[in-house]
């Protein structure tokens, strides 16, 4: 199939194209759109929470609905918004940064996406079928195992399905980075974003199985009468907490590390300097990933693990501040002596430094195990992790989207609107969350549906709610910008920022085979190296020849659809065994699709040299 033919087709054909695509760039679009949609849903839930807490004794929503809101807000934002948006960036950028034509397993890439999407849909269907999960995003047993209705069942099945997708994605990127690098792209020449994706994928590989097991145990307890968390039959509820946090703490680093990588690329590009202390940065990234596995129990200081365990985990947690500090200083010194260009992407990155530093500082305070007896499960913690996740992850996503938008869509997001979106969001963010630290210490526990009059919490909560509205305004301006840009802005060249890494050496958006000829990498910041040598672009590492590309397939979609159907079967077979039909039908579809994939040879197709020459004439060679 030549690219020229693919241009003009109807809507139906386009939908079919996206349903079956295995192209990492299109999968990035899918992740971006669905992650963005879930981000809006999660944001809406946040607004409802803040409206409820606007004044004391408020009755905007009922207590039960409030618990559903906080649960779904947390779950949605972590699993269905932040993770897929990061996967969107990974898909859009990593193969380009290492000079590859696609990821190692295009088929699995697509499967990972569809599993995530169906898992996410499953979770949100619960709103319409009698109540969403309501035991908090941490879903502690036995509150979750005894929660009436099917809400928690949706949590279990939805996360199990989307978690499988994430695990597949993680392995895929690991192999991609290990095996698919262009000639000369050694590990120590990889852009920091690619490095951080590598570490993140490792964390995914080791963290998600713990969640998988936890969810299985929860599923067995709720749907098949086992007794893991049933103290009456000798179960132990602390098992869930450990399994959840063995997964949950690395998850925090899974979220933040890729954006650390993105910030590194952005700071370096817009300061026109190579990253200060590159090897220290790589080392710090790896170290954060490593330590990330040793500290999960700091979420459980008040559970009663005893002073020895608490002390060990406290000190281990504090240690993470060191590599994080190294990163902050290296970013500052990357800008030191540079030519700082204040684009929107840079603005978000600049704003990230103080915000994240505050988040890190409160993190160290929380690490002091004893002091956590006061902080734990209060608004202090809420303030802390929003400083890290909004100030780090969300700022990072905005920065990275502004930075790579031209690479993904061929147009630079409007700079004026970009900056206009930034200010209300930034100010609103600090208004919302800074005050929450104090609210917590003044006696406001987390996950409170109402607070009482006369507890001195009125003003703080009102300020917090006002801030939330400002953040909503910022988000709306950003969405406006996306629409405005797609309608009004003009196409730009492949390298609008005077970039340094490989993705900027090819057209925007890239042709579906990315590189006409695999580039030869001659150093860190390979494109910059060539530019400094006065060259136009990369030197090819191979002669022009046929390119082998994978075939599109609908099977990832059907495999995921099968798990979706089976998920409903599992949930409702408790009420009526007839639903077992759905289990068998769904599993049949999934396993049948897998079998088809397994026995049907799929050797991909070739793009012929003549077509490539045709494309080069149209500018694909640059």
């Amino acid at each position: 199939m030549s690219t020229a033919v693919a241009q003009k087709r109807g809507l139906g054909a386009m939908i079919w194209d996206y349903l079956t695509t295995v192209d990492h760039k299109k999968i990035a679009h899918l992740y971006l759109v669905s992650g963005g949609l879930f981000f809006l849903i999660g944001g809406l839930e946040a607004m409802i929470i803040r409206i409820q807490l606007m004044k004391p004794d408020n009755n905007f929503i009922s207590a039960g609905l409030y618990n559903e809101m906080i649960t779904m807000h947390g779950t949605t934002m972590i699993f269905l918004a932040a993770m897929p948006l990061i996967f969107a960036l990974m898909n859009a950028v990593v193969p380009l940064q290492i000079g590859a034509r696609d990821v190692a397993f295009p088929f699995l890439n697509s499967l990972g996406f569809w599993l995530f999407l169906f898992g996410g849909l499953m979770l949100n269907v619960s709103w319409f079928t009698g109540g969403a999960p309501d035991a908090g995003w941490t879903n502690y047993a036995p509150l979750s195992t005894t929660s009436p209705g099917h809400g928690v069942d949706y949590y279990v099945m939805g996360l199990q399905i989307s978690g499988a997708g994430t695990l597949i994605g993680g392995i895929n990127f690991l192999v991609t980075i290990v095996n698919m690098r262009a000639p000369g792209m050694t590990y120590m020449r990889m852009p920091l974003f690619t490095w951080s994706v590598f570490v993140t994928s490792t964390l995914i590989l080791f963290a998600f199985p713990a969640l998988t097991v936890g969810l299985f145990l929860m599923m067995f307890d709720r749907m098949f009468g086992s007794a893991f968390f049933d103290v009456g039959l000798g179960g132990n509820v602390i098992i869930w907490e450990h399994l959840f946090w063995i997964f949950g703490h690395p998850e925090v680093y899974i979220l933040i590390l890729p954006l650390f990588g993105a910030f590194s690329d952005i700071f370096s590009t817009f300061s026109k300097k190579r990253l200060f202390g590159y090897s220290a940065m790589v080392f710090a990234t790896v170290l954060i990933g490593f330590l990330g596995f040793m500290v999960w129990a700091h979420h459980m200081f008040t559970v009663g693990m005893g002073p020895i365990a608490n002390s060990i985990f406290a000190v281990a947690t504090m240690a993470i501040a060191v590599p994080t500090g190294i990163k902050i200083f290296n970013w500052l010194f990357t800008m030191w002596g540079g030519q700082i260009k204040m684009t929107s992407a840079m603005l978000w990155s600049i704003a990230f430094i103080p915000s994240f530093t505050i988040g890190g500082m409160t993190g160290v305070m929380l690490a002091a195990a004893a002091a956590d007896y006061q902080y734990h499960d209060t608004y202090f913690v809420v303030g802390h992790f929003h400083y890290v996740i909004v100030g780090g992850v969300v700022f990072g996503l905005f920065a990275a989207l502004h930075y790579w938008w031209p690479k993904m869509f061929g147009k630079v997001l409007n700079e004026k609107l970009g900056k206009l979106a930034f200010w209300p969001f930034f100010i609103g963010f600090h208004l919302t969350f800074f005050i929450q630290h104090f609210l917590g210490l003044m006696g406001m526990p987390r996950r409170y549906w109402v607070f009482m009059e006369g507890q001195g919490l009125d003003t703080g909560n009102l300020i917090s709610t006002i801030g939330a509205f400002l953040m909503a305004i910022g988000t709306i301006i950003f969405l406006t910008n996306v629409i405005y840009t797609s309608v009004k802005e003009k196409k730009v060249s492949g390298d609008p920022w005077d970039g340094r890494s490989l993705e900027w050496s090819i057209p925007s958006p890239p042709p579906h085979y990315n590189f006409v000829q695999t580039p030869l990498v001659r150093g860190l910041d390979p494109l910059w190296v060539e530019k400094m040598d006065g060259k136009e672009g990369m030197t090819p590492a191979e002669p022009l020849g046929d390119i082998h590309m994978p075939n599109a397939s609908i099977l990832p979609f059907t495999i995921s659809l099968g798990t979706f159907i089976a998920g409903f079967g599992f949930i409702y077979q408790v009420d009526d065994p007839v639903w077992l039909i759905a289990v068998f039908a769904g599993m049949g579809l999934t396993l049948g699709s897998m079998l088809t994939r397994s026995v049907k040879d799929d050797l991909g197709h070739h793009i012929h040299k003549e077509d490539l020459e045709e494309d080069i004439k149209k500018g694909a060679g640059k």
Binding site: T202, I246, F293
Partner: protein, 108 residues
């Protein structure tokens, strides 16, 4: 890549076959040791030796057996398994931490 798919000289093929046979011998030896370890493990339990001694020994025997599996049967000792070994060690480290946790601080 393409070069090693073309037909090879006979002597090289013979050499490779010999190499495979050597490796196979090692693997059969490994298997024999694994069977032996299993027999010792079961034997100790059947003879009801003091459990303070038996439990650590059982665990050591199991770990050695597993190392045999990984390094000989699954070829982790061979070249080109650096990344593989790294990830398996990583997995083993997390696995170890998890198990230590569950036998120590999931208390009663």
């Amino acid at each position: 890549m393409a070069d090693n798919t073309h037909s090879k000289p006979v002597h090289q093929r013979e050499f490779e076959k010999k190499q495979h046979r050597e490796e196979m011998k090692q693997q059969v030896l490994t298997f024999a040791l694994m069977i032996l370890f299993t027999l010792i493990a079961f034997g100790m339990v059947i003879m009801e030796i003091n459990s303070y001694f038996v439990i650590p020994t059982l665990i050591i025997l199991a770990v050695v057996q597993v190392a045999f599996q990984l390094y000989y049967f699954m070829h982790m000792k061979n070249k080109g398994h650096d990344m593989v070994a790294m990830m398996m060690y990583g997995g083993a480290a997390v696995a170890g931490l998890t198990i230590i946790t569950f036998v120590s601080i999931v208390w009663w």
